[in-house]
């Protein structure tokens, strides 16, 4: 991306050039397809690429543009979809051999909204099996192919990080948008619970699942969320609250904004490189005029216990038939989680749900007492783990990779608050570090505002991995 105006983002920049007639959607789509052709053999981000369908859609968009039709912000832009989200005419395989390779008849609501907004759907990205894990094989990390892309939306993270597409849809039950965004060095936002429809999306845990974009820049997240957000009768958990203009706040800066820095467990311990990059990120906010204060929320110490107390039984209920009929088709670790969830006592599930209320109240009280606009922490305690390691070093200790990643992201699945991850530097191996910014429920606008200010001040967004293409014609 030629970053002439970072607040406009990749999508805004391309949309302007489409409107001006300097490029066509077919140009953009063919550039994206050529990019995928070059890099995807190395990172395996895509489960399927719809070459023919994408070019056809792009040609139809170009015809509409030539006819003088109004051009929305997403018109003609190639995007990808995580393979747990239905896209009409394509199977939804969920990274699992248990799912039939039969085309789905209808689009998920989020896909229909993208299509209606003129986006060109270029393909489906790989996911960790059943959206339940952070490794996402066969996808690898474009910064180092011997390391994981995160998950479960790992294919979407890698697809955006390689530059093949400016945005890919992901889902997030315990961090599955923000984890790949962090380890792949891109932006990704988990919106407020209820902001975006889950209709037509395979579930992991109904009360924790969120859908959102992984994208090249904060502005790209904002423009994508604008299209995705809003009530959907097909998902009764979606809110009827009005959707604000997310782009309107991007240039406001953070002068005078009150930012809480989350301290203590689960936001510590951290790998050294993460701690250094995060400390520098807080300094950037301070230098931009934000008021910084430390925040400790002791209720969050039980984050992992509550997360798994809820995910286990909900996922077991959702996959009950699979467990009864074809459990051998589920990877052993996930099979064990699901079977445990199927027979766990109801008291355990309720303990998770009730603890979640206490945690949410702890976060709410911290925001109120300190009059905070957002809170920040490292998205993850560590950078991308090697593909063949289940544990890695974090500070003085060795931690399970999945548990380490989830402990810093899951608090905002439990609370339902919006949370953004953006790049904030690199560790000594050159692997990206993520900065997480979380806000009040339904206040994605302030989260994006803080993210855009940081992004413009640091320009980490201009750094790309070794495996990268410029898919701008």
């Amino acid at each position: 991306m030629a970053v002439t105006a970072i607040h406009r983002g990749w999508i805004g920049d391309a949309a302007q050039r489409l409107r001006d007639g300097r490029i066509t959607s077919v140009d953009l789509t063919k550039a994206a397809l050529a990019g995928i052709d070059r890099v995807d053999r190395m990172v395996h981000a895509f489960r399927v690429v719809d070459q023919e369908g994408a070019v056809e859609s792009a040609a139809a968009v170009d015809a509409r543009l030539s006819a003088g039709e109004d051009c929305g912000p997403m018109t003609g832009i190639p995007v990808a979809v995580k393979d747990i989200i239905d896209m009409a005419g394509h199977a939804t395989l969920c990274g699992s051999p248990a799912y039939p390779d039969r085309p789905r008849r209808a689009d998920a609501t989020v896909v229909a909204r993208l299509r209606q907004a003129g986006a060109v759907l270029i393909g489906k990205t790989n996911t960790h099996e059943l959206a339940c894990g952070v490794y996402s094989p066969p996808t690898t990390n474009p910064w180092d192919v011997d390391r994981i892309p995160g998950g479960s939306s790992g294919g979407s993270g890698a697809a955006v990080a390689t530059g093949a597409v400016p945005m890919a849809l992901g889902s997030d039950t315990g961090g599955s948008i923000r984890i790949p965004a962090s380890v792949c060095g891109i932006a990704g936002i988990k919106p407020t619970f209820g902001r975006v429809s889950r209709a037509g999306v395979e579930s992991l845990a109904w009360s924790l699942d969120h859908i959102g974009p992984l994208a090249a820049t904060v502005a790209d997240c904002a423009v994508s969320l604008q299209i995705l957000a809003g009530h959907d009768p097909a998902d009764p958990a979606t809110s009827r609250r009005p959707v604000p203009d997310f782009g309107a706040s991007l240039e406001k800066g953070v002068d005078g904004l009150r930012i809480g820095v989350l301290e203590g467990y689960p936001f510590a311990p951290l790998q050294d490189g993460v701690a250094t990059a995060f400390g520098e990120a807080v300094d950037v906010f301070r230098n931009l005029g934000a008021e910084i204060s430390g925040v400790h929320i002791p209720e969050l110490r039980s984050t992992l216990g509550a997360e798994f107390a809820i995910v286990g039984p909900e996922a077991a209920a959702y996959h009950r038939r699979l467990l009864q009929e074809n459990p051998e088709l589920v990877a052993p670790g996930i099979r064990q989680l699901l079977a445990s969830g199927a027979i766990a006592p109801s008291s355990h599930y309720l303990a998770g749900l009730r603890a979640r209320v206490v945690m949410r109240n702890g976060l709410r009280d911290a925001f109120r007492q300190d009059r905070l606009d957002v809170v920040v922490c490292p998205t993850l305690p560590g950078t991308a783990a090697p593909v063949d390691q289940e544990e890695f070093e974090v500070g003085e200790a060795t931690e399970d990779v999945t548990a380490a990643y989830v402990r810093t992201t899951a608090p905002f699945n439990l609370s339902g608050q919006p949370a953004l991850s953006i790049p904030c530097g690199y560790d000594r191996r050159g692997l990206p570090v993520g900065l997480q910014i979380a806000g009040r429920p339904f206040d994605e606008a302030t989260v994006l505002q803080a993210g855009a200010a940081y992004e413009a001040a640091t320009r980490w967004v201009e750094h790309h991995p070794p495996i990268h293409v410029d898919a701008t014609p």
């Binding site: 064990q336 445990s340 355990h348």
Partner: protein, 62 residues
């Protein structure tokens, strides 16, 4: 021995309509023992306060 020995897990799986021979019964017992410990910690967080109500939705016809 934990609270979830093999016999208890076997019976629970059968009662749930799952075939125990297709699962790692000992592994499930270990997971459930871990969850039981979590459960006690979570209960401690709620501190037996009966007013902590996990149901927060507003009934609304779709």
């Amino acid at each position: 021995m934990g609270e979830y020995p093999v016999e208890r897990v076997l019976k629970a799986l059968e009662n749930s309509g799952l075939n125990p021979s297709r699962f790692d019964v000992e592994g499930i017992g270990r997971t459930l023992d871990g969850w039981l410990a979590d459960s006690r910690e979570l209960d401690g967080l709620v501190d037996s306060d009966p007013t902590v109500n996990p149901v927060s939705f507003v009934p609304e016809w779709p």
